[in-house]
């Protein structure tokens, strides 16, 4: 096997750095053109509604089921720990705060990247490989306005709503386990939750997180589809990149946002 010289390694590192910077630049221009570019389409609202269905409504089953189970598991685990200290009445408070502040936005972001994000990348990549995007351009229609913008807005709008639904279903699942199965007094369960959850501190901060995750995940998904190599392998790699990049972005941003919102700096 040929040995790689240190100069060659340095060259590769530089080339990789240039690729990353180039990709960031392309994706920023892409986003600005899609969201703020001139010239809309008359039937833009219809396109948005259609994408809200595909991106948002069709993601509901996985969000509801995941929210339900995560709420149930939280209640079960929380009860087992709190009961040792005689504080099982606080399980409602624990489930609600965990879901609203953290798990609602984060798990929805991860699930959204896996279900809707990968589908968006594959769909747009397939349109590119079958020359549908080129065809739109030559008909005089900007694919950034016709294909990308409705999908971006659908992601921006639907993911925060899905995160809210996730948290509500999770709390309901937690109540089912704690109150109906484990016998926690329902008055304490709901009263503790009401007393400890604050709208600005918990609900609003959770919503801000989900809006940020929606923006990043959808941006990554549509850009990876639009920028992929128009081959089967290229689409496959782009879909994988969407899930990996979006998941890491959600987890990384979650820490930063949590530090900003709840850290005492």
């Amino acid at each position: 096997m040929r040995k790689t010289s240190s100069l060659e390694r340095l060259r590769r590192l530089g080339a990789a750095g240039i690729d990353v910077v180039g990709s960031l630049g392309r994706s920023t221009i892409f986003l600005l053109r899609a969201v703020f570019g001139r010239g809309g389409l008359g039937n833009g609202f219809n396109l948005l509604v259609k994408q809200l269905f595909f991106v948002g409504v069709l993601s509901l089953p996985i969000i509801v089921v995941a929210g339900l189970f995560i709420g149930m598991v939280l209640a079960l685990q929380g009860y087992n720990i709190l009961v040792d200290y005689g504080s099982e009445q606080a399980v409602g408070q624990m489930v609600a705060l965990t879901l609203l502040r953290e798990l609602g936005p984060v798990v929805t972001g991860l699930l959204f990247a896996g279900r809707a994000g990968s589908a968006l990348t594959a769909e747009i990549g397939n349109m590119k490989s079958t020359e549908q995007l080129s065809s739109l351009e030559m008909i005089g229609v900007d694919p950034l306005k016709y294909i990308i913008a409705p999908r971006l807005w659908a992601g921006f709008i639907s993911m925060p709503l899905l995160a809210a639904i996730f948290s509500v279903v999770g709390i309901w699942g937690g109540a089912m386990v704690a109150v109906d199965w484990l016998g926690v007094y329902d008055g304490s369960f709901w009263a503790n939750m009401q007393n400890s959850v604050e709208f600005g501190e918990d609900v609003l901060n959770g919503m801000i997180k989900s809006v940020v995750f929606a923006f990043v995940v959808t941006w990554i998904a549509v850009f990876q589809g639009y920028d992929c190599d128009p081959t089967s392998e290229g689409i496959s790699r782009a879909t994988t990149r969407t899930v990996v990049y979006a998941s890491l972005a959600v987890l990384g941003l979650d820490f930063i946002l949590t530090a900003l919102m709840f850290g005492d700096f």
């Binding site: 020359e131 549908q132 065809s135 030559m138 008909i139 229609v141």
Partner: protein
């Protein structure tokens, strides 16, 4: 070049590179208005790239691409999209929108760019589909069509707005003999009846030569020859002669550049 000049499209000193490899090097091409001009050449010589340069989907490294009096590299993004309304392109794969049926595919440019009433859109779509022999396939989805049928639907869509310039990328590939004959006649008929400018990229020498007014032969990153089909058929230029007669021996190599065959086989590289 004014929009009324005798050339609908002009490439002036165009150089186009992919990485360090030049696909075109200082190429000049004039596409006469109202004529059928064919672009021919060996596989991989950049014929489709040339169509994409004319459609401004690719921008030249240097030189100008003039279409109807406008230099495309100087236009803004929105001006380019406006300009493309004057063009129609038949892509090699058809490039139909997979979520729309045949009717909606052909109606798409009309819905986006006009405010015609639904009845008129329906009439126009039916006429265009009748012209390509697929009026009966109006309710089919693209995945229910053969490759040849997809391209005919795509042709109906490309002519929906009656463009001034119509570009065909390998229109004859995968067509049965009947459809091929109809398509050959249709390209000529559309050109003459609508007074449009047609640019045909094709490998099919006999069919293309039968309808083209002029042929450009491209290869080696340059224009190898230009003229009427008869002139090129009788050309003494060895490259043109080899291409037009389809002979394996000549200055245009059949093999992609490779190391010595014997050395390769014996593994002495």
């Amino acid at each position: 070049m004014s929009s009324e000049s005798e050339n609908a499209v002009e490439l002036r000193g165009v150089t186009f590179k992919r990485g360090s490899r030049a696909i075109f090097e200082n190429v000049d091409i004039q596409i006469p208005r109202g004529k059928v001009t064919a672009i021919m050449g060996p596989s991989g010589c950049g014929k489709t790239t040339l169509l994409r340069l004319i459609g401004a989907q690719l921008m030249p490294s240097s030189g100008g691409v003039w279409v109807n009096g406008m230099n495309l590299p100087e236009l803004s993004r929105s001006e380019l999209f406006d300009m493309r309304k004057q063009m129609g392109v038949l892509f090699q794969s058809g490039a139909l929108f997979t979520d729309l049926d045949v009717f909606e595919n052909v109606a798409f440019p009309l819905r986006v760019h006009t405010k015609l009433p639904e009845e008129m859109i329906r009439d126009i779509v039916l006429m265009k589909l009748q012209a390509v022999g697929l009026r009966g396939a109006i309710e089919l989805m693209p995945d229910e069509l053969s490759g040849g049928m997809k391209r005919r639907v795509a042709l109906a869509r490309a002519i929906a707005l009656d463009p001034q310039i119509l570009m065909y990328d390998e229109p004859f590939v995968g067509q049965d003999p009947i459809a091929m004959g109809v398509l050959v006649r249709m390209i000529r008929l559309l050109n003459d009846a609508l007074g449009i400018t047609s640019i045909v990229v094709s490998h099919d020498l006999a069919e293309t030569a039968s309808i083209a007014d002029f042929i450009y032969v491209v290869g080696d990153a340059k224009v190898l020859g230009f003229g009427t089909p008869e002139e090129l058929m009788n050309s003494e230029d060895p490259q043109i002669h080899q291409f037009m007669k389809g002979t394996p021996d000549g200055p245009v190599p059949f093999h992609f550049p490779a190391p010595d065959y014997r050395t390769d086989l014996l593994g002495q590289g």
